[in-house]
């Protein structure tokens, strides 16, 4: 029995100039588990938000149980039995489990809550009492409550956005059993959004693949498709690299050994046994799906995160126990992933922000020489062709590209020994991306060792001399660029390595 419960036809949605969804045809079979696969920014979450009524599509139509929906609001979507679990939990921490589960106005188990709770807590093997507050639960347990909330509010179509991102392998196995049970016993239709290949193979029956806002593969039978096919679909063809990689490489500039980092509140290893080195004139690309330890690794090397085991050497000087400033003095530059908020201080002027790396050079005792700061900013503006209306303007009023140029320029102008660049082109338009890329290449040619964290495989293949893949805090694979294939890197990113 292959009854279609939900169908979208030619759905389109754009945000400004970005086409998030482009003529999407998508459908779900009643009582089956579907996988929706795609890279970050492929449009998976946008599509789910359209289905749950959060976004209104500009064109296209949605059919639920064969009926055309004129205007799907969050309310209407809920009443039609569509429920979504977002990546960030939407639970009320101070409320009890029971209150959270029965919060929705469409909830069906308010009368015989106890019976229902007993049944479903068994299915999810949840041991918590229903009157204990949600804040006392672990992340994995909260995830279970989120999914149970959908059941309790009578959702028959359950959209789960990256549900395994926060789970341990054991919890993931458990979740699979629970979801199987729900689809088989209760006839729930489930969509699992993920970019982990192993899981999509393990959990689902049907697979849909999105890329750049388009649905590029529909209704694949999970059993019949191979990992490699999926990776090729997901990441597409490699665009040939135009960057000359034959520049001379020199001494090792950055070396890190056996980095171990634990999350403070748990025993979970965020980083485990990470060892790598980068030579002068070399770009090491770090690939990986976000949340696999990249931010932490960059913070540890830059000195922001001091809680770790292992050693870090810059030009063979051990800086493991040295602070941010000492590492800056050895001319380490860091372009953090979080542009506004870490790299730049919002609410503070462009001028102040442009001096963050080397303001001590403009000081004379307690006095700060404003002229020197201005000279420095003007140098940045010229050197990196940045558009700044007024040095006193708040940095957050600049465009994303100009903000990133201020940040990159500030970190590059001193010709650093080592530069750590994290997602340097995320969210920028094509021209800004090109500008940032040529800055990085130029810096490499000046003999800087570059560590490039990126989720954009095109970028990594274009710039890197070597690529390392981080998966769950470990280096699971290292590739020389001429031996690396997009497929193998993609597989490693998804946790597959043979």
């Amino acid at each position: 029995m292959n009854q279609i419960i939900l169908e979208t036809k030619q759905i389109s949605k754009s945000f400004g100039k970005v086409q998030a969804l482009n003529n999407i045809d998508f459908y779900l079979y009643k009582g089956k588990i579907h996988g929706l696969l795609g890279e970050n920014g492929a449009g998976k979450t946008s599509l789910m938000n359209v289905l749950s009524g959060v976004y209104q599509p500009e064109k296209g139509s949605i059919y639920i149980n064969g009926e055309k929906q004129v205007r799907l609001t969050p309310d209407a979507s809920l009443n039609l039995g569509i429920g979504m679990v977002h990546q960030e939990f939407r639970l009320i921490e101070d409320f009890s489990i029971k209150d959270n589960l029965t919060l929705s106005k469409t909830n069906i188990y308010i009368k015989d809550f106890k019976k229902a709770y007993d049944k479903y807590s068994k299915i999810f093997s949840l041991s918590a009492e229903s009157n204990s507050p949600v804040s006392e639960l672990s992340v994995g347990e909260k995830q279970k409550i989120e999914i149970m909330k959908l059941i309790f509010s009578n959702s028959n179509i359950m959209l789960l956005d990256e549900p395994t991102a926060v789970l341990t392998p054991q919890e993931t196995d458990q979740l699979k059993l629970s979801l199987d049970n729900l689809s088989q016993e209760d006839g729930k239709t489930i969509v699992l959004i993920t970019h982990k290949l192993n899981e999509i193979k393990q959990f689902t029956e049907k697979i849909f693949v999105m890329k750049n806002g388009e649905m590029i593969a529909k209704d694949l039978k999970t059993k019949a498709v191979s990992h490699k096919t999926l990776v090729n679909l997901m990441v597409g063809e490699i665009t040939s690299s135009k960057v000359n990689k034959d520049n001379p490489k020199g001494e090792v500039k950055l070396r890190i050994e056996n980095i171990l980092h634990k999350k403070t509140e748990s025993d979970l290893n965020i980083l485990e046994d990470v060892t790598l080195s980068i030579k002068s004139g070399e770009i090491l690309g770090i690939a990986g799906v976000s949340g696999n330890g990249q931010v932490e690794l960059a913070n540890i090397i830059s000195g922001i995160e001091q809680n770790f085991n292992g050693n870090i050497f810059i030009n063979d000087i051990d800086v493991s126990i040295k602070g941010v400033r000492a590492r800056k003095e050895l001319n380490l530059s860091y372009v953090p992933e979080n542009r506004l908020g870490v790299g730049l201080a919002p609410g503070v002027s462009v001028l102040d922000n442009s001096a963050i790396k080397e303001y001590s050079a403009a000081s004379y005792g307690p006095h700060l020489l404003k002229n020197k700061l201005l000279e420095h900013l003007n140098l940045l503006i010229q050197e990196f062709s940045i558009k700044v209306p007024d040095p006193k303007a708040e940095v957050s009023t600049l465009s994303g590209g100009n903000m990133q140029k201020i940040l990159m320029g500030r970190e590059l102008i001193s010709n650093p020994e080592v530069i750590i660049a994290s997602q340097p082109t995320r969210g920028l338009d094509v021209r800004a991306v090109e500008a940032i890329h040529s800055l990085i290449i130029h810096q490499r040619d000046n003999g800087t060792a570059v560590m490039l964290f990126s989720e954009d495989l095109d970028e990594l293949f274009k710039l890197s001399d070597r690529i390392i893949v981080l998966y769950e805090g470990k280096i699971i694979k290292e590739f020389d660029i001429d031996k690396a294939s997009r497929q193998n890197v993609g597989l490693a990113m998804a946790g597959v390595h043979e």
């Binding site: 500009e58 790299g343 201080a345 609410g347 790396k357 303007a393 009023t397």
Partner: protein, 352 residues
């Protein structure tokens, strides 16, 4: 479908704060006039009377400026704390503790030279204000406790403590049973510079420039600004965000404590509940109207001093002194609203 959103302007006019203050002042005078008209008073008469009696003579002008001293000093303290984007609601309590510490030091020390003694006492006032800020500062830095709550609540503790002191251990036996402490000796009264204007006003001018230098021209000020913008950026830049926060808070409290010391040595000459008549709260208005700019605080603080004296003298013709409070408060409202429109623009966006 289209809707309207607020967008921050890329460049803001240098004098926008000043203009918004003027707009606020116009609004507040209009509101004040309406209230006076309702009371069957001629606004023009009342306002000219206020002006005459608050700035019309050397004596009245100097009294007005004396009233401005605590507003300016406490306002500067609030501005310093605001460089790390924290609010000091506790200037009132810091003034009291400043005065208490001054009295304590006065009782227990004796310097041969009066000027040295006064200097030491003023420093003690500063230290007193800082001590008052210790609890909010420590809890902020260690546990991130909201400083608005802690600074506000320390006010009540310190004022209660003051009441205890002047009813108990420090009670002046010659005061006909009024709850006040004994007078300090005349040798430590602040000297006057002209009319009744105490030397505290000169200290105010120095502190204004000092604050301007600290916030705008010094390395410490720069580090505090970055810390205020984003604590993560400060940590990223190798700036000790907690230390800068702590320093900014202690200096901010110290300025209010100094104001308390000047009130004690220059005006009341003894510890009483009259050390501050809400100056610590009015100073928040002064600092906020000026967008936390030291020179602006000096000007607006002086103006508010005039208003305070003007408000109290019009009582003699049967007009409530609250008219001055209303003007102060509506100036803040008007100025903040005007500043909002100087800072943001309304933009139409197409939905979807």
């Amino acid at each position: 479908m289209s809707r309207y959103i607020l967008v921050k302007k890329a460049s803001i006019h240098d004098l926008s704060t000043f203009y918004s203050f003027l707009i606020g002042l116009i609004i507040s005078i209009t509101v004040g006039s309406i209230i006076l008209l309702i009371q069957d008073q001629d606004p023009l008469d009342i306002f000219s009377l206020m002006l005459k009696l608050s700035v019309g003579s050397i004596d009245s002008l100097s009294s007005s400026l004396n009233k401005a001293i605590p507003l300016i000093l406490a306002g500067l303290g609030i501005a310093i704390m605001n460089t790390v984007k924290l609010w000091n609601i506790g200037a009132e309590g810091q003034m009291f503790l400043g005065a208490i510490i001054v009295n304590l030091v006065y009782i227990n020390t004796d310097f041969g030279s009066p000027s040295l003694h006064i200097f030491v006492l003023l420093i003690s006032g500063f230290v007193g204000g800082s001590i008052c800020m210790l609890f909010p500062a420590i809890t902020k830095v260690m546990f991130g406790v909201n400083e608005i709550i802690t600074t506000l609540l320390t006010n009540y503790i310190i004022i209660g403590f003051t009441v205890y002191l002047i009813n108990g251990p420090w009670k002046d036996l010659n005061s006909l049973n009024f709850p006040v402490a004994a007078y300090v000796g005349e040798e430590v009264f602040l000297p006057t510079v002209f009319g009744r204007l105490s030397i505290g006003f000169i200290i105010c001018i120095l502190c204004t420039f000092g604050t301007y230098y600290l916030i705008d021209k010094s390395v410490l000020g720069y580090e505090m600004r970055i810390t205020g913008g984003s604590r993560m950026t400060a940590i990223y830049a190798g700036i000790n965000a907690k230390q800068k926060t702590f320093i900014a808070m202690l200096i901010g409290g110290g300025f209010a404590g100094l104001a308390g010391a000047i009130e004690l040595l220059g005006q009341t000459h003894r510890v009483s509940t009259g050390i501050s008549q809400g100056f610590g709260y009015t100073a928040i208005i002064v600092a906020a109207i000026t967008g936390m700019r030291p020179i602006g605080i000096f000007i607006v603080g002086s103006l508010f001093g005039v208003l305070t004296i003007g408000g109290s003298v019009i009582q003699t013709v049967g007009v409530s002194s609250y008219i001055a409070d209303i003007i102060q408060a509506t100036t803040l409202f008007g100025a903040l609203i005007a500043l909002f429109f100087f800072t943001y623009q309304i933009k139409e966006v197409k939905d979807g």
